[in-house]
Symmetry: C2
C-alpha cells in the first residue's frame, strides 16, 4: 500500500426533488450565477424551469450559457470566461452531464487565471484557484461531479486533454432526472463508470486487499443492476444506486494507496477524438476487452480474481488462464446486453487508421501509456488489431 493524500470536499445532495432547492445552496457562494448547460433536453424535461425558479426565489441574478456539446469545446469555455469577467459573475452552476460539468470547471478556473486556460490542459497542470462551481447531474457516467478532473477538446486541433481543478463545491444528484434518458446514453454511462473502476483495479501495488474488495463491490453493483436500469431507467431506486456507483467509481476513494493504469482511457481519447460521433463509452466497450486479452498474462491471478468475484465465473483451479478468459468473455456479454459496439468496425473505424491511432496515443512514439503494463506504439497497435 502506497502513501496517499485524500481530500474530497464536494457536498453531495442526493435524492428525489433535491434540484428544486438548488438556489438555497448557490446563495451560500454567490449572487450572480452563470447557468451552464448543453442542448435543449433540460428545457424539454422541465428541469430548466425548476432551476430558474429556485434561483429567482433566492434573488440570484442569472446569466446563461448553453450549447455545451459532448467533448466540450475550448471556444465555448472562452466565451464563458469572458461572460463571467465582463459581468462579475461569482458562481457557475452546471446543469447536465459530464461535458457540461467539465466545461464549467474550465470556465471557473479560466476566470481566475491570467492566461489561456488551455495551458492547464496542454501541460496536464493543476489549477488551484477557481470560481466556485456547483452541479446538477443529469447523466451518471463520468464521475466529474465529485472529483477534480476536467477533459475538454481544442476546436482547431481536436486535441482532447485533461487537467485538474478544484472540486465542485456541491453536486445535486437525483435519479428521477435520469428516467427519460435515451437507452444508448444509459449504456454509455454504465460502460464509463465500470471502466473507471477497471483503470484502478489493474495495479502492480501489493497489499491492496481492502481496495480490491471495495472496487469489486462497485463493479458487482454496476454489473447486476446495470442491465435492469438499462431496461427500466424510470426505476428510481435502482438508478439511484447506479448514479451513486458512478460517483464512487471516480471520486478517488477506491484507488487510495495504489498505482492506477489509464492506458485504455488514453487510447479511447484518440478514438473519439478522431471521430466525434463516437461516444466515450462506445470506444471503451470496444477497447477494454482487447486491452485485457493483450495484458492478462502479466498477472493472471488478478484476472482470475476479477472473473470469480465480479463475474461469478466458476474457477478452474488447474487452468487459471481459462478462468481469466471466461471473465473477459463475461464482460463482453455484459456489453452485448447493453447493445454496445464491440469492434472498430462497429464504430466505422477502418483498419487503416490503426497506425495513426497508435502513434497519436503515444505522441508519435515518444511516451508509453499505462502502468499495469506499459504500452508502447506497437503494443497499442496490437490492441487495436485485436479490436478490429
Amino acid at each position: 500500500m502506497n502513501n496517499f493524500v485524500y481530500y474530497n470536499p464536494t457536498k453531495i445532495i442526493f435524492g428525489k426533488d433535491t434540484q428544486k432547492n438548488v438556489g438555497d445552496e448557490v446563495k451560500k457562494y454567490g449572487k450572480k450565477v452563470l447557468l451552464h448547460y448543453g442542448g435543449g433536453s433540460i428545457k424539454k424535461s422541465g428541469l430548466y424551469d425548476q432551476v430558474i425558479k429556485s434561483l429567482k426565489d433566492n434573488d440570484l441574478e442569472i446569466f446563461e450559457l448553453g450549447g455545451v456539446v459532448p467533448n466540450p469545446l475550448l471556444s465555448l469555455i472562452n466565451e464563458g470566461i469572458k461572460m463571467c469577467q465582463d459581468n462579475d459573475i461569482d458562481f457557475i452552476l452546471a446543469v447536465g452531464g459530464g461535458s457540461v460539468i467539465d466545461s464549467a470547471k474550465a470556465i471557473g478556473g479560466g476566470v481566475k487565471y491570467n492566461g489561456d486556460v488551455w495551458d492547464f490542459y496542454a501541460k496536464g497542470l493543476t489549477c488551484t484557484d477557481s470560481l466556485p462551481v456547483g452541479t446538477i447531474l443529469t447523466l451518471p457516467a463520468t464521475g466529474t461531479e465529485m472529483n477534480f478532473r476536467s477533459v475538454i477538446t481544442k476546436d482547431d486541433t481536436l486535441e482532447k486533454r485533461g487537467a485538474s481543478f478544484p472540486n465542485p463545491v456541491f453536486s445535486i444528484l437525483n435519479a428521477e432526472l435520469c428516467a427519460t434518458l435515451p437507452k444508448n446514453q444509459v449504456a454509455n454511462g454504465l460502460v464509463d463508470m465500470l471502466a473507471h473502476v477497471f483503470e484502478r483495479y489493474f495495479t502492480n501495488t501489493k497489499n491492496v486487499e481492502l481496495t480490491d474488495y471495495q472496487m469489486e463491490a462497485v463493479m458487482k453493483s454496476i454489473i447486476e443492476l446495470g442491465p435492469y436500469v438499462y431496461d427500466n431507467p424510470a426505476d428510481y431506486d435502482k438508478y439511484a444506486q447506479i448514479m451513486w456507483a458512478g460517483t464512487v467509481a471516480h471520486n478517488y476513494s477506491l484507488c487510495v494507496g495504489r498505482e492506477t493504469d489509464w492506458a485504455t482511457h488514453q487510447i479511447e481519447h484518440e478514438l473519439s477524438g478522431m471521430d466525434s460521433s463516437i461516444a466515450h463509452g462506445e470506444g471503451l466497450a470496444v477497447l477494454f476487452p482487447n486491452w485485457m486479452k493483450y495484458v492478462y498474462k502479466h498477472d493472471v491471478d488478478r484476472f482470475v480474481q476479477l472473473a470469480v468475484r465480479v463475474f461469478n465465473v466458476e474457477e478452474d483451479f488447474f487452468d487459471k488462464e481459462k478462468t481469466a478468459l471466461k471473465g473477459i468473455d463475461a464482460l463482453i456479454n455484459f456489453y452485448k446486453r447493453l447493445n454496445m459496439p464491440l469492434t472498430l468496425r462497429d464504430l466505422n473505424i477502418n483498419e487503416d487508421k490503426i497506425d495513426e491511432l497508435a502513434l497519436l496515443a503515444t505522441r508519435n512514439n515518444t511516451i508509453t501509456q499505462g502502468n499495469f503494463v506499459k504500452l508502447n506504439t506497437d503494443d497499442i497497435k496490437n490492441i487495436l488489431l485485436l479490436s478490429r
Copy 2:
C-alpha cells in the same frame, strides 16, 4: 434508498513518515497550537519529539495539554477550553486515539461557544463553529479522525454522551505508529471498527445492494486481515489497510441512503459507563452476538447474507436460520481469536446489574434503542440475559 447529504472535508494524509511534516499542515490554519494528548505513550515512542520538532520548525507556538483518559472527561475539556481562551490559541492538534480526538473536538467547539460545552452532549446537538482541529491517529478504532462525532463523559454523573462537531480539517494516519500497540488495544480497535459497520448493515431500508456490498468489502477485510494484524502489529502493509478500514467504517460513506441501528452501541455505553475499566471494544464483543441472536428472526435473509458473504458460511438453502446462526457463531469465533471477553461474567459484571443497565439504556423506560428492531427495556434486559 433514502435521500441523503454527504459532506466530508477532512484531508487525509496517509502513510509512512507523514507525521514528521505535521507542522506544514498546522501552519495553514494557525500560529498558536494546543497539543493535546493522553498518557506517556507518545513520549516513549518518540512521536512526541517528532511532532514538537515539526511544529517548532514551522515557527508555531506550542501549548500542551496531556492526560486524556479513555472515555475522555469533561473536566479536562473545560481546562483545555480555558487554556485556548486565555492564550488566544487558534489550532488544536490531537495526537492519540479516539479519546484524545473526541476531547479535542469538544475543546474546539467549546472555545467558540458561549456556554457549557456539555450542552451539546446533554441534548445531542450539533456544534457548527469550532477552532480547527487536526489529528495524528495512533490507534485505529473509532473513526473519529474522519467524522463529526465526539463522545465524552461527565465526571460527576459518569454520563457518557455523543454530540456532533465540525470534522477535523486534517488527519494524519501512519500505521508505523501502531507497531508497538498492546495486543488488547489492537483487538479492541478491530472489534470497534467492525461494529461500526454492523450498526449500518442492519437496516430496514430497501434497495441498498450497493452499500451492502461496500460494507461487506470492509467487513471481509477486517475479518481476514484482523487476526494477522493482531499477531503482527508491526506489519505495516497489513495494519495500514486495517487503519484505513477503521476510517472508512465510520466516515459515513457506507451508510448513505439507509437507516442505521446503533442500539448495541447505546447499550455498550451504559456498560463501560458503569465500569470504566471495560473497554468499548470489550463491551461490544460481549453484546453484539447476543443482540444478533435476539433480533435475527426480524430479517433472516439479511443474516444469511452476512453469514454467506462475509463469514464464508456454506448456505443451507432449506434452513436459513441455521445458516444465519452459523454466521453469528463465526463472529464469536473471530472475537475468540482476538482473546476478547464473550460474557458479562468475563467483564466482571454481575447478573444483578442487568435491570439497572436496561433502565439506563432506555433512560428509565422512556425511550427505545435501535431502528432495525426497536428495543424497549425488556428487550434490552433479554439481550443482557443472553450475554451472561
